[in-house]
Amino acid sequence: MALDALVFQAVNGLASASGLFLVAAGLSIIFGVTRIVNMAHGSFYMFGLYIAVTVADRLPSPFDFWGGVLVAVALTALIGALVELVLLRRIYRAPELYQLLATFALMLVMNDAALWLWGPEDQLGPRAAGLTGTVELLGRRLPDYDIFLALAGPAVLLGLNRLLTRSRFGRLIRAATQDREMVAALGVNEAVLFTAVFALGAGIAGLGGALQMPREPASLTLDLAVLGDAFVVVVIGGMGSIRGAYVAAVIVAQVKALCIALGTVELGGLAFNMSKLTLVAEFLVMALVLVVRPHGLFGRPAPATRIHASAVEAPLVPLGPGGRGAALAAIALFAAMPLIGDSFAYAPVLAQDVLIAVLFAASLHFIMGPGGMASFGHAAYFGLGAYGAAYAFLTLGVSTPAALVLGPAIAGLGAVVFGWFSVRLEGVYFAMLTLAFAQIVWSIVFQWEEVTGGSNGLFGVWPEGVLESPTGFYLASFALVLAGVLVLRRLAFSPFGHALRAARDSALRAQASGIDIARVRWLAFIIAGTLCGLAGTLFAFAKGSISPEAISVGRSIDALVMVLLGGVQSLLGPLFGASAFTLLQDTVMRETAYWRALLGALMIAVVLLFPGGIAGGLSDIAARLRRAAGRP
């Protein structure tokens, strides 16, 4: 391994670090003041790059690049301000998870807006005037622009630091980060402050995007890709720490650069291509950091911030006669589906999708609702179940029923390992560690071709024996899903379910009463992972194949959306949410190229109109009807 290659990659790494830092810094500042985890943050980065390319295209040569960057920063800041005024302002008091849902919906809308504005083709911008040359370093040629980028990160860091400590605006940001209400009570117009902070964060992200112009084309996949990177960086550095974000960005970028520079290494006689690790390097670093420092490198245990307490969940009540009737009717409907299949051939297929989605969502809800742990990587257990069953079935040649047991068992085993680390973390950190584990699983599946079939996945996973007929398999999966849902419901009412709620309601109180919080959460995580694995197993057999797509971030987010759409505070929520989401995806969404915007708009409408999700909305209506009926 030559030293010059290492140095070269290191400088390259610093240039990449600047890009990561710019996105992460804006995310961190916005989170600090508004307490909103802005899922749409990557969209501002993407818009920054698109705008810069578009503007640069229309300007004469020496001004094209720099003009594009300037306009991009100004416009993304402006869009940020508009978004704050129109959307965020309405959801500051909503529960944290609904804010996530709303900003995620915003990301979908912005992605389709970009598709509409710029079309599906990638767009490449010009190089920076004055920085098109190279310098020689240790016999290799380094682009001027990489050196400029490597310096841009620290420059923005210093500028932000100065802004935060030396200016009144910065002091206000720091004060509002701790207690926004008090800032207002001291005569500061906090509404304007919030708008300004959001514009600042969005503008920095826009700058980050625009500065990538000479390095990568503008494309529609950037938002999600960059969002993942930005989260990782913010979490490694510690939420709210700008300095931490820079250090984390450098670590992540350097580890990736090192992996590339090292290439294939021999370890104990085995050749291993280190560059394969770049796909997961940042997640490995994050997992490692979070296990050692649960609040990131520079983060502190949750500061005593004032967040509006979200409405407390009501105690659990068994279903009344009306509810039981409705539940039996739903069960009968699903059981009768094969009969309907004669006249509507598509109905059983759709019902099968709904069933799998229901178990996927209900298993996530178990840890997210009663457990208070929102996993951002639930698809990992879906994938482990699906791949586990498919591998056992195809390669080991076990029977279909045995595969139906092995798949969930493998997912459960994964949950045993990942859960042990994850349940020790809280809130966003828990979410990010679960996401990291899911990415690690995804990357292994993607790269371990001998076992998983790589990017193509595994084929020919068709059920055999009694389950071979579509009706037979449908009824079997219906029975399994029903059993899974009933078990989860039974657990919620059991002492164990209440211990889980106790740990969520007040960890201090639960510990003082002698409840082993970590064990309770761990077991809940394993149960949820196992049942999610069952959903994945059914999925593999229903589709006859499985690909890495099933473990992607997008799938994990689908599960979150289903739970939130249905209502996280109700045990029935995930059932409604999964059904509605699947039906929408299978019907309306197929009809338009702009399905993301449609879905996003729908999600925003749910957050603004039915903050309790579908289940919350239904019980509101029921309560209103009862009151109306009770009146003389």
Binding site: A175, M182, A184, L186, G187
Partner: protein, 245 residues
């Protein structure tokens, strides 16, 4: 000097979410007057102050400061109209230094301010709270409860208020520091500030206040001169003798 009171409230109702906390509270605070608002925890003292500041959902027939209607104003405008709010648990910005905390509240003296009110420059404040002068660069989080309370009052004063809403200034503060605080509040009163003080410490009220209102379950039960307030009339031990209800 006109006769318009500094603060005038008529029929104030307030809510916390769905729960109604205040029921038709009416009170006034005159110029240079210190008025005690006395009652148990949960009686509605803090809510009254938060309602004045617009920090809870509220409705009132009248909510005026120096004749200006506050009802439609956002919180920050209310503060700019000369209302200084010192909340119950101080709510110091712990990450900011003493000097930075003061800077958040700082506001130039409005042009029309009555000449009898002092201009609260940092120097004037440090004369009032000598402790603070010595710890200007200390983070708010590294201060004792009593020091934080002083800072909370000082941080409000730099906004040049004409009316102070003090919510339980002695709660959680060592008795020695309470004595110092009473001294400082006397100085402020002499300087012409009006004060509404929510307090459970009767000695503090007796030493400082001219009049008192007793609040219970969100309704005013008694009001009169501080000297007439019998301890037994408080806290529901004996039925109020000359209640206004």
């Amino acid at each position: 000097m006109s006769e318009t009171p500094r603060l005038e409230i008529e029929a104030l109702d307030a809510w916390y979410g769905a729960a109604r906390i205040l029921f038709g509270v009416s009170l006034h605070v005159g110029r240079g007057e210190a008025v005690a608002l006395i009652g148990r925890n949960g009686a509605g003292k803090s809510t009254t102050m938060k309602a004045v500041m617009g920090l809870v959902t509220r409705r009132a027939a009248r909510l005026d400061v120096e004749g200006r209607d506050l009802r439609a104003l956002p919180t920050y405008e209310i503060a700019r109209h000369g209302v200084g709010y010192v909340p119950e648990d101080r709510r110091i910005f712990t990450e900011l230094t003493v000097a930075e905390n003061l800077d958040i509240g700082r506001r130039p003296r409005p042009a029309g301010t009555a000449p009898d009110l002092p201009d609260w420059t940092p120097q004037a404040l440090f004369a009032l709270f000598p402790n603070l002068a010595e710890m200007q660069d200390r983070p708010g989080g590294a201060m004792s409860g009593g020091e934080q309370q002083m800072l909370a009052i000082a941080r409000t004063l730099v906004g040049q208020p004409r009316l102070l809403l003090l919510d339980e200034p002695s709660e959680g503060v060592a008795p020695v520091i309470v004595d110092q605080m009473i001294h400082a509040l006397h100085t402020l009163k002499r300087a012409g500030l009006s004060m509404l003080i929510a307090e459970q410490n009767l000695d503090l009220c007796r030493s400082l206040c001219d009049r008192a209102y007793v609040i219970e379950q969100g309704e005013l039960r008694w009001h009169g001169a501080m000297a007439e307030l019998e301890e037994e009339a408080l806290f529901g031990r004996v039925a109020p003798t000359n209640g206004i209800m």
